[in-house]
């Protein structure tokens, strides 16, 4: 996601001004794209290596994909990752939907800006800071309760997923014609019925988009997961990180390629949903 927003064209106010006419702009853009995507090519390429090397291609094979598939640790981490991402993105989406309604479907009130900032806090605070903070907090809770389950990870992931779910939902709500909800109220729909029959059906592409984005963010997280997880709670990214500390085999490439494919597919669907909404 961060990648995508970096390449989005900067908004300029001048009417006749086109950034494309500036010398070197096109070159710069191409360089940026190259820097973004070039490193991914060898990664994917060597995942199909028949040999064990990351430097010499010894023929095409699905060997490392099969190896990963048969690795119980990989499967275990994958299931945990998906479970965690599903739980965190679902909870985050519900909370984000309520937050989006609370910040767009009310008369402007004092503290609205403060609320925006608070909701988007995870986007601004360095991830490692959040991770350390959670580590310290959860350590004391773990000591006090002796509970070491998945709840810590789910809570932590939910927290940093909220802004990613919130932004597309809010954008969709802001783009919605307010007179539709006014018309529903005019036609005897109570606030709840207005939400159920008009707001929600029109909002759901935004909700789905927010949820998919949150899912991908959770699926890809390393830093917070690494510091919050208890032993035996590896997710796919933290498992891979552990593997990288030892001998690197193309198995990691294979897992990375699959993760990459899943992320690309979900982000593509996200953009499609967002496009349809506007």
């Amino acid at each position: 996601m961060a990648d995508a927003s970096m390449v989005s064209p900067a908004k300029k106010t001048g009417r006749a001004f086109s950034i494309r006419k500036q010398t070197g702009f096109t070159t710069m853009a191409i360089v940026c794209f190259f820097l973004l995507y070039a490193p991914l090519l060898p990664l994917v390429f060597y995942s199909f290596n028949a040999g064990t090397s990351l430097a010499f291609f010894e023929g095409f094979s699905f060997r490392w994909y099969v190896a990963a598939w048969n690795n119980d640790l990989v499967i275990d981490a994958t299931i945990r990752s998906v479970y965690l991402a599903a739980a965190a993105s679902s909870i985050a989406t519900v909370l984000a939907t309520m937050a989006a309604l609370g910040t767009t479907r009310t008369k402007p009130y004092k503290g609205l800006t403060a609320i925006y900032v608070m909701i988007n806090q995870p986007l601004m605070v360095p991830e490692i800071v959040t991770a350390v903070a959670l580590l310290i907090l959860f350590a004391s809770i773990k000591a006090a309760t002796n509970y070491h389950g998945m709840a810590y990870l789910i809570i932590a992931h939910t927290a940093f997923c909220i802004p990613f779910a919130y932004l597309p939902i809010r954008a969709r709500l802001e783009g919605m014609d307010l007179s539709l909800e006014t018309a529903a109220a005019d036609l005897y729909a109570t606030p709840w019925l207005t939400f159920r029959r008009v707001t929600f059906p029109l909002l759901w592409p935004g909700i789905l988009a927010g949820m998919m984005l949150a899912f991908v963010i959770s699926l890809d997280d390393v830093v917070i997961t690494e510091l919050v997880k208890s032993s035996g709670q590896d997710t796919l990214p933290t498992y891979m990180l552990g593997q990288l500390r030892r001998a690197i085999t193309p198995e990691v490439n294979a897992i990375s390629s699959v993760l990459l494919a899943v992320s690309v597919i979900m982000v593509t669907i996200f953009f499609f949903l967002n496009r349809k909404s506007s």
């Binding site: 479907r105 008369k107 014609d177 007179s179 539709l180 909800e181 006014t182 018309a183 529903a184 109220a185 005019d186 036609l187 005897y188 729909a189 109570t190 606030p191 019925l193 207005t194 939400f195 029959r197 008009v198 059906p201 029109l202």
Partner: protein, 387 residues
């Protein structure tokens, strides 16, 4: 959505507080309604407005953009609440009811059709929300589709029909629950001229057939005059004059009303005598003529002997310059516009007086620019303004 009052049952079943005056005749009674939009700078959108809208009439709010028409409509619908004052519907105070408890429906300027529902679902929405049985909803939807001549498009999505058709669906949707009052906020402004003329007639027919009170908002004076039983002319948060189209046109009480509706000649005259409904005024030419007084009259003290009178261009005729002409002036311009010819005459003091004369077929223009002509004004054509 803002909800302030707890819902008891469907629309119209709210607690009633009867007012003493006969509530039977009056549909909407706005009493000293003031609306201030709070913000960085407060906006006074309605300034102590009182108006009565009768049952079963086609009532129009007419005024330039920003004068508070939409605000008054939104207060009646319940989307906004008055800062001060009260609004009653058939004698019940509805000021505090949320929109979904008021038996009032709106046709929005943007139509506001639900894009995720079919034409039929849109029309049935209000009845469904009122908890009507399915059979009744289906029957009413079919009747409404017939009423607005949209039966074939029943199952279309609202995005698959034209603007004019969307307009009809919006009308049918608002009429289906049989509201006591139908509010229409510039519903025709998005249509092209031909379709607009057609819909004007259609709206009149619908109002007649349904017997529902229509409150119609427009900034188009011709539209207001053709469609309405009564017109309220608004300016800057005030209602300046309420009356049937003829009265508004022939007997404007204020400069703004006279100016906003049709073309007018303004003349400063001396007040000679004042009667019950008419006065005698002395025109700049020295001639004294009878003039109608506005409703409510004027007081001689605040007129200080000088009044403004208005004469419509088509109520004056161009004639030979004679000593007994009501007014006279030098012809400056002849503007031929097909149905009419406009003569621009310069009065001795430099003001321009416009005469509109209906053209006959193969009529030969005999008047000459630069010559002096008399201005003949028929009896009853002079109207005194309040200001």
């Amino acid at each position: 959505m803002v909800s302030s009052v707890k819902s008891s049952a469907g629309a119209g079943k709210s607690k009633t507080t009867k007012t003493k005056s006969s509530p039977q005749e009056i549909a909407i009674d706005a009493l000293h309604v003031t609306k201030i939009y709070r913000g960085d700078t407060d906006v006074l959108a309605l300034d102590d407005v009182s108006v009565q809208i009768r049952k079963n009439e086609f009532f129009t709010l007419l005024g330039p953009s920003g004068c508070g028409k939409t605000t008054l409509l939104r207060l009646i619908a319940g989307f906004e609440h008055p800062t001060a004052g009260m609004i009653t519907l058939e004698g019940e105070d509805i000021s505090l009811l949320p929109p979904y408890q008021r038996p009032v429906n709106t046709v929005f300027q943007s139509y506001a059709l639900f894009p995720h529902m079919s034409v039929a679902e849109n029309i049935g929405f209000g009845l469904e929300m009122l908890g009507k049985p399915k059979s009744e909803i289906d029957r009413t939807v079919d009747n409404m589709l017939e009423l607005v001549k949209m039966t074939e498009l029943k199952n279309r999505q609202t995005s698959q029909i034209s603007g004019g058709q969307q307009q009809r669906v919006a009308l049918a949707r608002a009429l289906a629950p049989r509201p006591k009052v139908l509010l229409l906020d510039e519903p025709l402004s998005a249509l092209d001229l031909k379709l607009r003329k057609q819909m004007q007639i259609e709206l009149k027919r619908l109002q007649h057939e349904t017997g529902i009170t229509f409150v119609f908002v427009t900034h188009d004076q011709e539209e207001a005059l053709t469609m309405s039983d009564r017109v309220a002319v608004m300016s800057e948060g005030n209602i300046l004059q309420v009356g049937p189209p003829r009265e508004i046109y022939d007997h404007p009480a204020e400069r703004f009303v006279a100016n906003f509706i049709g073309d007018t000649n303004f003349i400063t005259a001396g007040l000679v005598s004042i009667g019950k409904s008419s006065a005698k005024v002395k025109l700049p030419s020295g001639k004294t003529v009878a003039a109608a007084l506005p409703q409510g009259g004027i007081s001689k003290s605040d007129a200080k002997g000088k009044v403004t009178v208005v004469i419509r261009p088509e109520h004056a005729r161009i004639g030979k310059a004679a000593s007994n002409s009501t007014l006279s002036g030098t012809l400056q311009n002849i503007v031929y516009i097909g149905t009419d010819t406009h003569y621009h005459l310069e009065l001795p003091k430099g003001d321009i007086f416009i005469i509109r004369s209906q053209n006959q077929r193969d009529f030969e223009e005999s008047h000459r620019v630069g010559k002096k002509y008399g201005i003949e004004i028929g009896p009853g054509a002079v109207q005194v303004l309040r200001d």
